[in-house]
């Protein structure tokens, strides 16, 4: 009799364990439903100097952000091709973007140089943006101010 009771208890515990496992696996599904897509527009302002080349670092220190796509800038000199980036950056929360143009017509002043598409899960991430280098048409390093504006993808 005791043997049958033990077997019954074991079967019940296995059933309950299975139920719990199913709940744990369901959790990411619940998280995925809270994820959203957004984009970050990157602007570089070189004042009166024309901008022919740039390189910057973009990352998220907090939150859960994943880079899912990258677009070029708004000016014709930087819109034809996307900027250079490491393909491994897709799926990560850090990317180095860089581009140059040998065109005669170059942007100056505040110009959108790139758009980074993101998937954000959970809390809004804290972005870090650093302009590594900027140069004019002669290849001479110039100073510039880099900023971003976050937008929600519909």
């Amino acid at each position: 009799m005791n043997r049958w009771i033990a077997i019954l208890l074991l079967a019940c515990s296995i059933f309950i364990e299975g139920e719990n496992t199913g709940a744990t696996e369901a959790k990411p599904v619940a998280q995925a439903s809270s994820s959203r897509f957004a984009y970050v527009d990157i602007y570089v302002d070189t004042k009166s100097e024309s901008l022919a080349a740039y390189q910057f670092n973009f990352s998220a220190d907090q939150g859960h952000m994943t880079v899912v796509g990258i677009e070029g800038g708004e000016h014709a000199a930087f819109s034809k091709n996307p900027p250079y980036y490491d393909l491994h950056a897709i799926g990560q929360n850090r990317v180095i973007l860089a581009a140059f143009s040998t065109a005669n017509d170059l942007p100056h002043g505040k110009t959108r140089m790139a758009r980074i598409h993101l998937m954000i899960e959970g809390d809004p991430p804290h972005y870090t943006l650093k302009l590594d280098v900027a140069a004019n048409a002669a290849g001479k390093e110039i100073s510039g101010v880099i900023t971003f504006i976050e937008g929600a993808t519909p």
């Binding site: 250079y84 490491d86 491994h88 950056a89 929360n93 990317v95 180095i96 140059f100 280098v133 290849g139």
Partner: protein, 142 residues
């Protein structure tokens, strides 16, 4: 060198004609110079003249060569030498941009820019340098 003190007496109207005539009788004898001495004198003059000529030629051409060398030296200093790709340094997009500008200008880039070692320096090398500039550290940041 034909100052008034050196004027020959026969040309000087202040000298009496008789005095000139007498002096000529006393000292106007022609001196016999041996032909060998005469030729030696001519030879020495010729050698001396040749030495002066050589010196002049040397100065003329040497000065010209020195001037040309100085101009070349200044030109080499002033004209920037072709950029060299140094992968030991921190590679940025400016390296790729430098090569792209050289290719656009039609100048012949230094062979150090052949980063993909295919024997041709072209857009593929530009892309390879740019790819290195944006390369994330291994493993990245997840």
């Amino acid at each position: 060198m034909t100052g008034p003190n050196r004027q020959p007496p026969e040309d000087d109207p202040s000298f009496p004609r008789n005095l000139i005539s007498d002096l000529s009788i006393l000292y106007g004898r022609s001196v016999e110079v041996p032909k060998a001495v005469d030729e030696e004198m001519f030879e020495q003059c010729r050698r001396h003249g040749a030495r002066i000529h050589r010196l002049k030629v040397l100065l003329r051409w040497g000065g010209g060569v020195a001037a040309v060398a100085a101009v070349l030296l200044v030109a080499i200093r002033l004209v920037p030498s072709a950029p060299v790709y140094n992968p030991g340094n921190h590679v940025t997009i400016l390296d790729a941009f430098s090569l792209a500008r050289q290719l656009k200008n039609g100048s012949k880039p230094d062979k150090s820019w052949d980063v993909n070692r295919d024997g041709v320096i072209d857009q593929k090398d530009v892309d390879a340098i740019a790819a290195r500039a944006v390369q994330l550290p291994k493993g990245g940041v997840q």
